[in-house]
Every structure is written in structure tokens, then in C-alpha cells.
């Protein structure tokens, strides 16, 4: 089997639908966060007033960047502790029909860190180690709030970007509550019910014992899956109810559900670019970014597709089989939807998988790794936009140096303070990937968890820390992450990967907000052109290439060479 026309059109159609829904939705998000009224105001407003009263929020208060950030960090910390306690105590708490015990301290820490940071890295197998209470009250809960946190961080940054000599970034509590009431909850309820209709279970009944057709028994795990699945995708979370994630037929029963799950994870990250365009009142800027990032997404999806339909030459040589690489894939998705999912789950920083990334062909592995290393091919909820803005700042600065102009972006002068902070935000990512990977591969604790030998084993570890630093959560699942070493190291990398860049970006937002907006002149370097856009892409690709190339050469590129020279294993 080679590229099929149906498969190729299918991939392009999904991306077209995401853009077609995401762009208008970005306009809606802009209205929500600039105080606009909704068609359903009569439902939203009283519900929000009730929530303000229950939480104790005065919605008229405005916050500067420090107050906004302080509230964000505090509530994130508290929710993480809450989830940690649920994971530890789930064995003695209700909603546990399958009698699942509490987690060890290190696994509970890793899981709490993973879900509060929107990573959803899983060192546990859902159906074996998470009670229904944990799935609902810790996992589903944090899948909403962590998505909302990244989302409001981006909104606050946008407010700082367009503020004129002001301190205010808005009210954190109002923003956080409105993301839930006006965006995430309504979408999740509708999507969850649609998923049930298409075959995703939603029940509090325990596992079903079936008496199989040839006379043995099979224990079939189920549970409140659809409600988790909906927000797992919409919130670019990715942490599955079951170990096999969206490859499990109960999470993703048909080709159609897989398409819907891809659309759900792409919707808000693509929408936020349009929201950004509305905030800075510059459509062209958004258009340039849409075109370039969509092109990269399509290239990535087709690189995976080409390599997967090409099949495994070693299997062909040893056994005479020819056909696509179907190891770790589900037939209802086939190579095309599996490949599209690989590219999208890492572009949108979701981390859900409908195919086992560990069994991808070597050059296919490059795509998810690179997308997570860039971390801005649309990127995750809110934080993807923050990364795009961070690299825009850096590109403006570099271009300013090259043409000898004072760097400015959207009418704001970029000075030493902003550049230092943006550089910190940029450098923390490669640091958190490469240093822990290096430590892991020289220690017994790190290498003993590898499933696959040789270069592929190295890629398993590199992938783990890349996924953790990018707050993605997809895995080369052969790596046994449930050890004290990986639980702690990955947990710490996820927390730093999330909050260091958020803190740096808030500090930038605060200092940008205070600046006056200077009118555009003929001397202004325009950022809304394809020329500038190409420099932007060149900057993050070159930064990525220089930083990560040695690691990628040892991993997937080395494995490809190994495969081409027909050497199996070492």
C-alpha cells in the first residue's frame, strides 16, 4: 500500500475543518474576553454571578501582572495538592467498583504534576491504577482547569500587549471562571454526549465480566469515559482513561470519532491565533502565522504518512511481508488517520495517541519530536500562543539588529528587560530536555527503564523528557516511567517547563503593558508580512536545529541509518 488519494484528502480535510471552525471561534473568544455579550447571556451571566459569590470574587477588581500571576500560581498549587491527595487516598474513597488501591507517593506526585501542568504524561495505566473517583474528581477536573490556566495566561498577555501605559491585565478569577462557563463546559457537554452516541461508554458500573464465544472469560474495563474524553481533547490534555489512550476502542471507537477528536484538539489553539489578530487589530498578522504554521503541520503529517505506508523494510526483508507499518496501529484508523493524529497531537501539544509512537518508523518519529521541540506549531491551549509571541519578540529583536532599527512589536519598544526574559523562556525548554536526558542515559536508574535496545532506547528517553518539557504528554510507551527516578525527574521537568516560561511571559506582559503605544511610521519594521514570517520560521527552526540536532542524530536519524544498512538491533 502506498499513499492513497482518500487518505491524503482525509488528512487535508481535517486540517481544513479545524481552520474553518477555529478562525470564527477565535472571534467569539475575543468577544468573551473583552466583555462582549453572548447570545446565551441569560444563561451565562446568572451562573457566573453564582460562581463569583461561591468563590468570593469581586469581578470589578483589576489586577497587575504580579497580582494576576500570584493568584494563578496559588490556585494551581492548591489544585495540585488536592489531586495528589485523591490519588493517594482513592483506595479508601467511594466510586471505586474495581477496588483500585491508592498510588505510591512518587507516582501520585508525578500524576498530579502532570495533570496540573496540562501535560498528561501517564506513568500509570488508567484501567489498572485509577479509580472512577480519581478519573472524575482529579483527572477530568484538572483537564478543565489546567487548560483554562494556560488559556487565561495567553489572554492576559494579549491584554498587556495592547495596553497603553496601564498596569492592568484583567481579573484572573473572572477570566478563569469565564473560560469554563463560556468555552470549555458547553463544548465538553455537547462533545461528550456525541461521543457516547458514537460508542464511548459513560457509566459508573464496574468492569463487565463477559463469557466469550469460545468459552473463556474476559474482564472488560469501562467507566465514565466520554466525559473525560471530551475535555481531554478540547483542553489539549491528552491523558487517557485507558492505558492505550485514544487507540482504545472505548476512547475512540470509529474513524469518525478520531476525526472529531482531532478537530476538538485543534479548535482552540487555532482559534487563539485569530483572537490574537483581533486583539492587535491586525488580520494580516494572523493570516501570515496561519499560513506558515498550517504548512508546517501539513508537511509533518505527510512525512509521517509517507514513512508509515512505506512499511518496515526489515520486516519485508526478513519475512517477505509487504504493506504499511501496522505495528501499534488500529485498523479502523488505518495509516492516514494514525499519521494525522501523530502530527496533530504534538503540534497542538495534546499528547493523546491513537497509535503507539514507540513503534513508528524512524523518520516518522522525527516529526512528533520536532513539533514538541518547537512547541509552537499552534501549540497547546494558550501556552502555544505564548511561545509564538516569545519567538516573535526574538525575531523582531534579531531583525532589528540586522537592519539597524530599534526593535518594536505591535507599537511597543522592545528593550533589554523584555529580551532577557524572552531568552530565559526560550532557553529553559532545551535545557529541560537535554540535561535530564543526558543524566538519564548515564545512570542505571535511567537506562534500566528502556524497553527497546540501542538507539531506539535512547529515543525513548529523549522523547520522554521532550514530552514532559513541552507539556505534551505523549510517550514512547515502552519506557517504564513508573520508577522513583522517572516519576520525580519527569514531574520536576513538567513543572519547570510549564511555570518558568509562564512567569517570564507574565513579567514581559507587565512591562509591555506599562509602555506607551507608539504610532507606526514608514520606518517601522512590519511583522505582518510573509518576509518577516519566513524569518520567524527560520529563527525557530535554526534555534531548534542547532540545539537538538545532536540528540536527534543519535536517536531517530541514527536509527534510520541503521535500518537502511539493514542492521537489526545494535
Amino acid at each position: 500500500m502506498r499513499f492513497t488519494v482518500a487518505g491524503s484528502i482525509g488528512i487535508l480535510a481535517i486540517i481544513a475543518i479545524i481552520l474553518g471552525l477555529g478562525i470564527p471561534f477565535g472571534g467569539y473568544l475575543y468577544r468573551v474576553f473583552t466583555g462582549g455579550h453572548s447570545r446565551f447571556e441569560a444563561v451565562f451571566a446568572p451562573f457566573e454571578r453564582l460562581l463569583y459569590r461561591l468563590v468570593g470574587v469581586n469581578p470589578s477588581v483589576q489586577m497587575d501582572w504580579k497580582a494576576y500571576l500570584r493568584a494563578l500560581m496559588l490556585v494551581n498549587f492548591m489544585m495540585m495538592i488536592f489531586a495528589y491527595l485523591i490519588f493517594r487516598l482513592q483506595g479508601i474513597l467511594p466510586f471505586n467498583p474495581d477496588h483500585i488501591p491508592g498510588m505510591s507517593w512518587d507516582l501520585a506526585f508525578n500524576t498530579a504534576a502532570s495533570f496540573i501542568t496540562n501535560t498528561n504524561w501517564q506513568n500509570y495505566a488508567g484501567e489498572q491504577s485509577m479509580s472512577y473517583l480519581g478519573q472524575m474528581l482529579a483527572i477530568t477536573y484538572l483537564q478543565f482547569t489546567s487548560a483554562a490556566t494556560g488559556f487565561v495566561a495567553a489572554i492576559a498577555f494579549l491584554r498587556g500587549l495592547v495596553a497603553h501605559k496601564s498596569e492592568s491585565l484583567g481579573n484572573f478569577w473572572v477570566d478563569l471562571i469565564k473560560v469554563h462557563t463560556r468555552v470549555l463546559l458547553p463544548l465538553a457537554v455537547v462533545f461528550a454526549v456525541v461521543l457516547v452516541g458514537l460508542g464511548v461508554p459513560q457509566t459508573l458500573l464496574g468492569a463487565q465480566i463477559a463469557h466469550t464465544l469460545q468459552g473463556s472469560t474476559q474482564t472488560i474495563s469501562r467507566g465514565p469515559v466520554a466525559s473525560l474524553e471530551a475535555i481531554k481533547q478540547l483542553g489539549t490534555n491528552g491523558g487517557g482513561f485507558f492505558n492505550a489512550n485514544s487507540a482504545h476502542p472505548f476512547e475512540d471507537p470509529t474513524a469518525l470519532t478520531s476525526v472529531l477528536e482531532m478537530i476538538a484538539m485543534g479548535l482552540i489553539p487555532t482559534a487563539l491565533l485569530a483572537t490574537f489578530g483581533k486583539f492587535i487589530a491586525n488580520r494580516r498578522q494572523a493570516v501570515v502565522l496561519y499560513v506558515l504554521l498550517t504548512a508546517l503541520l501539513i508537511i509533518g503529517a505527510f512525512i509521517v504518512y509517507a514513512n508509515e505506508v512505506g512499511g518496515n523494510p526489515l520486516v519485508h526483508q526478513a519475512l517477505g511481508l509487504s504493506g504499511p507499518n501496522m505495528e501499534g496501529k488500529e485498523w479502523r484508523f488505518g495509516p492516514a488517520l494514525s499519521s494525522a493524529f501523530v502530527a496533530m497531537t504534538t503540534a497542538f501539544t495534546t499528547g493523546a495517541v491513537n497509535t503507539m509512537h514507540d513503534s513508528l518508523m524512524p523518520l516518522s518519529q522525527l516529526v512528533p519530536l520536532l513539533f514538541m521541540m518547537f512547541n509552537l506549531i499552534f501549540g497547546g491551549k494558550g501556552v502555544g500562543l505564548l511561545n509564538i509571541l516569545m519567538f516573535l519578540l526574538i525575531t523582531v529583536f534579531l531583525s532589528g539588529l540586522m537592519v539597524g532599527r530599534t526593535p518594536e512589536i505591535f507599537g511597543k519598544k522592545i528593550e533589554a528587560r523584555e529580551m532577557k526574559l524572552a531568552t530565559v523562556a526560550m532557553l529553559v525548554h532545551p535545557f529541560l530536555i537535554l540535561v535530564p536526558t543526558a543524566i538519564a542515559v548515564v545512570t542505571k536508574a535511567g537506562t534500566s527503564s528502556m524497553l527497546n535496545p540501542g538507539l531506539h532506547g535512547f529515543t525513548e528517553v529523549l522523547y520522554a523528557f521532550t514530552s514532559a518539557a513541552a507539556n505534551n504528554g505523549s510517550a514512547f510507551a515502552g519506557l517504564n516511567g513508573n520508577t522513583v527516578f522517572y516519576n520525580l525527574s519527569l514531574g520536576i521537568v513538567m513543572l519547570l517547563g510549564r511555570y518558568v516560561s509562564i512567569i517570564a511571559m507574565f513579567a514581559i506582559a507587565g512591562s509591555l503593558a506599562k509602555k506607551a503605544i507608539i504610532p507606526q511610521t514608514s520606518g517601522t519594521l512590519r511583522t505582518d508580512t510573509f518576509a518577516f514570517g519566513s524569518v520567524f520560521v527560520a529563527v525557530f527552526v535554526i534555534v531548534g536545529a542547532l540545539t537538538f540536532f545532536p540528540a536527534l542524530a543519535i536517536g531517530p536519524i541514527g536509527e534510520q541509518l541503521q535500518m537502511m544498512s539493514h542492521i537489526v538491533g545494535h
Binding site: L51, T145, H180, P201, A210, Q218, N243, P253, T254, E559
Partner: protein, 191 residues
């Protein structure tokens, strides 16, 4: 301190809203509208639940269709793939083993006819569907063991085929549980 209490109140209020009210509402609506799907698409035969339409189960007897290989032995409470990398010798060994099983059970078929999806393990270990090529290769064996005619079985596969969604998404496939239930209804379970 004000912020501390506010954060605590947010944590609890939203835990109740998102962790209880939301999933329980979806459970209520889901079970009301789609009771079969909501409970896991369980299939009943002579008063007993024999499995889920969406979950592959182990079938090794010759008169039933066999699902794709499973790295977890069709344990529906422990899903997962093999996670073997493309250059791992263990992957070649695993596929070789699966290939031998297929050749032993279906004597007379050539390796060049066997599609990779028939001998490579699925991602979940519970893939409920097989390709048409896979299904048709099993027809002679099932016809011999069940006494059903090959024409009937081929017709059954054709009638049970699900095409690509909107002609572009997914692959043409047949659900193994659906095929096997049709066979069981014809000949009984033959314990």
C-alpha cells in the same frame, strides 16, 4: 490571605462542578439517550453477555474469525501495544511468530497474500476490526471447520463491511464480533 481562601474556595467549588456535576450529568444524559453505547456496547447471546462489539476477544477455534494479534493477550482490563521499535529484533521475532500462527491455521495461503495488519499487533491490543483481505483469507478455514459454505461466508463479509467514513476517513473493515455472532447464530457455540 484573602487570595488563599479564594483559591481554596475555587478549588473546592470547581472540583464539585467539574469532577461531579459535569460527569454525572453526562452519565445521566448518555444513559437516557444511548443506553447500549453508554454501558460499553455489550453483546448478549442466550441471556449471557459474550463480550463487547467494540473489544476484540481471544478466538483461536477454527470456526470463528480471528481478530488482529494482541500484545496484551486480549486483556480488556490491561490495554496496550507491543511498543517494539522498528529496528528491534524482538519485533521481527514477534511478527514471525504471528505469521507462523496464521500459516498453520490457514494452510495453503501464500505469505505474499498476507497483509501486515493480520500479523502486526494493534495499538490497543483490543482492535475489534480486521481488513477485508484478512477476513477473506480466513474463509476457507472457517468453511472447513463450521460446515458453512464459503459463498455464505464471503457474502457475510461483504454485507458486514463498513466503508470509509464519507469516502475519505479510515479503511474498509469488518467487525469481528459481528461476523462471529452471525456464525454462532447459524451453528451454535459448539463448546
Amino acid at each position: 490571605m484573602v487570595n488563599f481562601w479564594r483559591a481554596l474556595r475555587f478549588t473546592i467549588v470547581f472540583a464539585v462542578l467539574l469532577g461531579f456535576v459535569y460527569p454525572l450529568c453526562v452519565t445521566g444524559i448518555g444513559n437516557l439517550l444511548f443506553p447500549y453505547q453508554a454501558q460499553g456496547s455489550m453483546v448478549t447471546w442466550r441471556g449471557r453477555i459474550v463480550g463487547s462489539e467494540l473489544i476484540a476477544q481471544m478466538t483461536t477455534v477454527p470456526w470463528l474469525f480471528h481478530p488482529r494479534p494482541s500484545a496484551v493477550n486480549y486483556a480488556a482490563n490491561n490495554s496496550g501495544g507491543s511498543n517494539l521499535g522498528p529496528t528491534n529484533p524482538a519485533l521481527i521475532a514477534e511478527i514471525h511468530h504471528n505469521l507462523q500462527v496464521v500459516e498453520r491455521q490457514n494452510p495453503g495461503i501464500a505469505v505474499s497474500q498476507i497483509p501486515t495488519d493480520m500479523v502486526e499487533s494493534s495499538a490497543s491490543g483490543l482492535d475489534p476490526d480486521i481488513s477485508l483481505q484478512d477476513a477473506f483469507l480466513q474463509v476457507p478455514r472457517i468453511a472447513r471447520a463450521s460446515g458453512l459454505s464459503p459463498i455464505y461466508l464471503r457474502q457475510l463479509i461483504t454485507n458486514s463491511t463498513t466503508g470509509r467514513t464519507l469516502g475519505i476517513w479510515g479503511e474498509p473493515m469488518v467487525n469481528v464480533m459481528q461476523l462471529n455472532m452471525a456464525i454462532v447464530k447459524q451453528i451454535g457455540t459448539r463448546r
